[in-house]
């Protein structure tokens, strides 16, 4: 590229590509927020049920996790978008993707929170119960707040995965980053530059998150020391 007379128009093109693609960012981010939230709202109770729910609770949650973690998110997206769409009611692409990614994520988030809950020593529960707290009170005020801190690094990694997975929404026509990039490709017949651009955008979002997660992970021990 260096020194070619085409430099200014080339940058112009790139900038206009970028401007077009980046308009999908809010969609990508809101898919991420909905997916992560649903995964959290399902995953945390599942983890609590798995750790404190006795043999039946554990069996139920383990089965649930197995299923959610074994099915490709794309299959779930199609189940919601095509399967339920035609037979029962209208499921827009956005909703189908948010549901599918959320369910998938709940299997992983459940695992993350289970590990975190188990890492909080039984002494915390004992102390809470000895004050007269019921089990749920002890989980709510004592165990869960500590477990959530402990889970933060792994949870941030899950967030990074989720951001990347939202690109699957492309297949059902949701105009997020990936879909808009493909529009550019279709319009310009340039198969490379638009995808390199969107790769850069994903990188710019995901890399800081994994970096922060890594730092938190190293500090994890500090979060839970003390007696």
């Amino acid at each position: 590229m260096t020194g070619t007379p085409h430099l200014p128009p080339f940058f112009d093109t790139i900038l206009s590509h970028l401007a077009f693609i980046i308009e999908g960012l809010p969609v990508t981010l809101s898919l991420t927020v909905y997916g992560m939230s649903l995964g959290f709202l399902l995953g945390l109770p599942m983890a609590i049920l798995r750790v404190y729910g006795g043999a039946n609770g554990r069996l139920f949650v383990v089965s649930y996790e197995r299923v959610m973690r074994s099915v490709p998110p794309l299959v779930l997206i199609f189940v919601f978008y095509f399967g339920i769409h035609t037979s029962v009611f209208d499921v827009p692409g956005f909703l189908a993707v948010a549901l599918a990614l959320g369910l998938c994520s709940s299997g992983y988030q459940s695992q993350i929170f289970r590990g975190a809950l188990e890492s909080i020593g039984s002494g915390q529960m004992d102390a809470a119960r000895s004050l007269g707290m019921g089990r749920l009170q002890a989980i709510r005020f004592i165990v869960a707040p500590q477990a959530l801190r402990f889970a933060l690094p792994s949870w941030a990694n899950e967030l990074a995965t989720m951001i990347k997975d939202t690109s699957l929404a492309f297949v059902v026509g949701v105009a997020e980053l990936m879909r808009r990039t493909d529009y550019v490709r279709a319009a310009t017949y340039d198969p490379l530059i638009p995808f390199l651009l969107v790769a850069g955008i994903y990188f710019a979002i995901v890399f800081p998150i994994t970096r922060i997660a890594g730092t938190w992970g190293r500090e994890k021990k500090r979060l839970v020391v003390g007696g």
Binding site: S130, F141, Q146, G227
Partner: protein
């Protein structure tokens, strides 16, 4: 059944806790095998014995943190095995102090002591703060209110642990080897706090090997081994003429250790 039916001098003392034929198994292992004793109001009972004797398990059966497999515990005239859904409430009548402190790591000292009254007694934050501050003053930790457990020494942590138990205004305090995870130079401050409480006529049940403490304040000592009570009696009885061979041998070994105080911290080994 009840091993001691004799009435206590003048009948002025009322029984706060009655342990009746308590058994606890872990799988096939019998950890506590039919233990019975009473604790009078305002007295200190010391339980001691070799590790694995079932002392901690027994203590946890008293406040039903572990539910006994057989037998029961009375808190005054309440049968705790029949308490049903009120068990959480009755459990709050027992304050418990743990070997490894078990402070809530995500909370400041003040919050650690406030949370019990706030959540269990459902009093307002302002009231809970007053209660907590008072409890912290009793253990001389009020200046550390804003610190987190990880910023405290072991002795300070344990005093906060005691304050947390006191804040619930319990009828009985249960101590589970409160000094055995402490560095030797920190044991004193915790023992002093416990001595103060004993002098205030708090009812206390202490699993401890601190024989100096036992001698100073306990009205009854219980020697346990292999899940049963081997011998009970006053400190004078134990330190002048223990009758049982096992008791003699164990006390002999303890005295040996007491000669060199620094050997006492067997449990310090970097837990938590």
């Amino acid at each position: 059944m009840g091993t001691r039916e004799e009435t206590t001098g003048g009948g002025r003392l009322t029984k706060v806790v009655s342990v009746r034929d308590v058994w606890k198994f872990y799988g096939k292992v019998e950890v506590v095998k039919g233990v019975s004793f009473d604790v009078d109001e305002g007295t200190t009972t010391v339980i001691f014995g070799p590790s694995g004797a079932g002392k901690s398990t027994l203590l946890r059966c008293i406040n039903m943190l572990h539910i006994p497999d057989r037998g029961t515990v009375f808190l005054r005239d309440i049968d705790l095995m029949k308490a049903g859904h009120k068990l959480n409430y009755y459990r709050s009548k027992f304050g418990m102090v743990f070997q490894h402190f078990n402070l809530f790591n995500h909370m400041t000292v003040l919050e650690n002591v406030m949370i019990g009254p706030k959540v269990v007694k459902r009093i307002s934050s302002d009231e809970a703060r007053l209660t907590a501050t008072k409890a912290l003053r009793e253990v001389r930790m009020e200046d550390w209110s804003k610190h987190y457990p990880s910023q405290l020494s072991g002795g300070q942590k344990q005093r906060v642990g005691i304050a947390r138990a006191l804040a619930m205004d319990p009828e009985v305090l249960l101590f589970d080897e409160p000094t055995s995870a402490l560095d030797p130079e920190l044991i004193g401050e915790v023992l002093q706090t416990m001595l103060d409480l004993a002098k205030e006529k708090k009812t206390m049940i202490c699993v401890t090997h601190e024989m100096g403490f036992a001698k100073a304040v306990s009205s009854e000592m219980i020697f346990m081994d292999e899940g049963v009570i081997v011998e009970t009696g006053s400190p004078e009885h134990f330190f002048t003429n223990p009758t049982n061979e096992r008791t003699k041998r164990f006390l002999g070994r303890l005295t040996e250790l007491y000669g060199r105080h620094e050997n006492k911290n067997e449990a310090v080994a970097g837990k938590k």
